[in-house]
Amino acid sequence: MTQIILNGLFVGSFYALIALGYSMVYGIIKLLNFAHGDIFMFGAYIGMTCLTVIPGIGSLGIGAIAIVLLISALLTGATGVLIETLAYRPLRSAPRLSVLITAVGMSFLLEYGVRQIWGPDPQPWPQAGRLTEAANWPAGLQWGAQRIDILGGSLTGAQLVLMALAVVLMAVLALYIGKTREGRAMRAIALDKRAATLMGINVNATISRVFFIGSALAGVAGVMHGAYYSSITFLMGFLLGLKAFTAAVIGGIGNLYGAMLGGLTLGLLEAFGTAWFGGEWKDVFAFVFLIAFLTLRPTGILGERVVERM
């Protein structure tokens, strides 16, 4: 029983990390960034390329993964900003429908662009960058590759490290949004873009910053996915992106804690669902929950009912 919960929490932390990106972008410019799932995939491919291209990275073991995480976060973040400036900024005042369709177009561009460059079939993750390889863990930290029993269930050290990393990142983000000046600017824009400009906030710069953070987080999640599951494909972003959006909606779209909570909840719901009904129904659960939440409580667990101003 606890094993199912542990599995759910582990998968949930991936959903949460990506859902954060969805929620931030949706919160600030009310855009459903369909391409966000593919940014996650793009981050994984960047990570894989760094591991194969950078000389001598193999010898660093865990250090290699840390470096690659950083590089991938920066590069994916930059891609996110690029996408926002090229595709979404010109349509800032366009009707919602055309921005959504642009996002779908961008999603295709990322997916099949990566397919064109890295080839269609799934790519195994380089040996040096695998969290589950005992060789990569330094002598003192051998527990990283072994299983650790927790309350009857068990997770590998690597999984615990990844979940810890996810929690740390979420905490840092929450502090950033809550306490810093830029964070306040983001919240202001989310509430009223025009008023924010009057207050001297450079809206475009802040929106780019949001895209940078959201995409960087997705990039980190991409590298973590590759490092743990050790195989990536150009289509993995589509389904995971959809699930991350479901998580964001369940938690309350636009609300950061909601994205985190929603991610973990969806992870657990799926884990129990597959345990009881069989693996093949896994995706169906995610969407049934999405539709149920949208009908019963569209604002999600933490979202508050916002009066739609005329």
């Binding site: 589950t132 299983r147 195989s231």
Partner: protein
């Protein structure tokens, strides 16, 4: 077009059956082996590869040989995979063994639910009948999830990539049911050399000899029938008795390959590529 040779996965081959039949073109299927392909065979379909039924019986022999008692069967809901899994499960139940079945979604990467189910069932043998990508991930997550039993893969997952994804260390007791591959030929690599000569240096793939045999079978039937007409060729194919690279080629009346289907047990323990481990003959 006088003949169709090919068909890798059953799912996509199935819809082509009526089309080739209506176009009056005999269809020799070199690899796809789901029994649905020959279920209501109008005499126009010939399987060169061992069918799901034959592969399942070879797997059963392997289970009995190692006297595994608690089996788990996982498929990926595709046509080939589901067919092999259901036939194997039926045989295992006949033999009175306990069998837990589950399936997974292709293109997914997290199979912790399936691993948990296998471990909680206390299985000492897992038969995964899906394809390469999911096989690699499942083997990795099974071993890292603490499963210590034996793992058998269907012939759809026989590829070096499985070891690449799962990591060689995790493939200690990974085996697969498989028909002969070029490197298993006892001709000292002559076929491989000739193949590389004409193909500009590329190694023969896992199913090259199957395609080779299939074309050879058609050619033999056409020469014996003296014409390329569908009815004549199909008639001649019934009485095929040809020595091929994959063994003696004969057909049963429902169009499937006669004999044991030539399945053997292969393993990728030493260097990640699947090599002959036990011919079970």
């Amino acid at each position: 077009m006088v003949a169709s040779v090919g068909g890798y996965c059953s799912g996509s081959t199935l819809p082509t059956l009526p089309i080739f039949d209506s176009a009056k073109i005999p269809q020799l299927i070199s690899v796809a082996n789901s029994d649905n392909l020959i279920k209501d065979n109008t005499g126009n379909v010939w399987l060169l590869d061992g069918t799901g039924e034959q592969q399942a019986s070879t797997a059963m022999k392997w289970v009995e040989k190692n006297s595994f008692k608690n089996l788990a069967v996982i498929d990926d809901k595709t046509d080939y995979s589901a067919n092999l899994a259901t036939r194997f499960t039926a045989k295992a139940k006949e033999a009175g063994l306990t069998v837990t079945t589950d399936s997974l979604t292709p293109k997914e990467s997290d199979f912790s639910a399936q691993v948990t189910k296998v471990k909680s069932a206390g299985a000492d043998f897992v038969y995964f009948t899906g394809y390469v990508q999911e096989a690699g991930l499942l083997v990795k997550q099974l071993v890292e999830g603490g499963y210590t039993g034996s793992i058998l893969l269907g012939d759809g997952s026989v590829d070096a990539k499985v070891a690449e994804i799962a990591g060689l260390a995790n493939c200690k007791n990974v085996y697969a049911t498989y028909t002969k591959t070029p490197d298993m030929l006892d001709d000292g690599g002559a076929f491989a050399e000739k193949y590389k000569a004409i193909s500009g240096g590329t190694e023969p793939g896992p199913y090259t000899i199957h395609s080779y045999d299939t074309v050879k079978t058609w050619a033999d039937a056409a020469t014996r029938a003296g014409s390329v007409d569908q009815a004549a060729v199909n008639e001649a194919l019934k009485s095929t008795n040809l020595a091929g690279l994959t063994g003696q080629i004969q057909f049963t009346d429902d169009g499937s390959r006669a004999g044991e289907g030539g399945f053997v047990i292969v393993s990728n323990q030493d260097d990640g590529t699947f090599k002959l481990y036990d011919a079970l003959s």
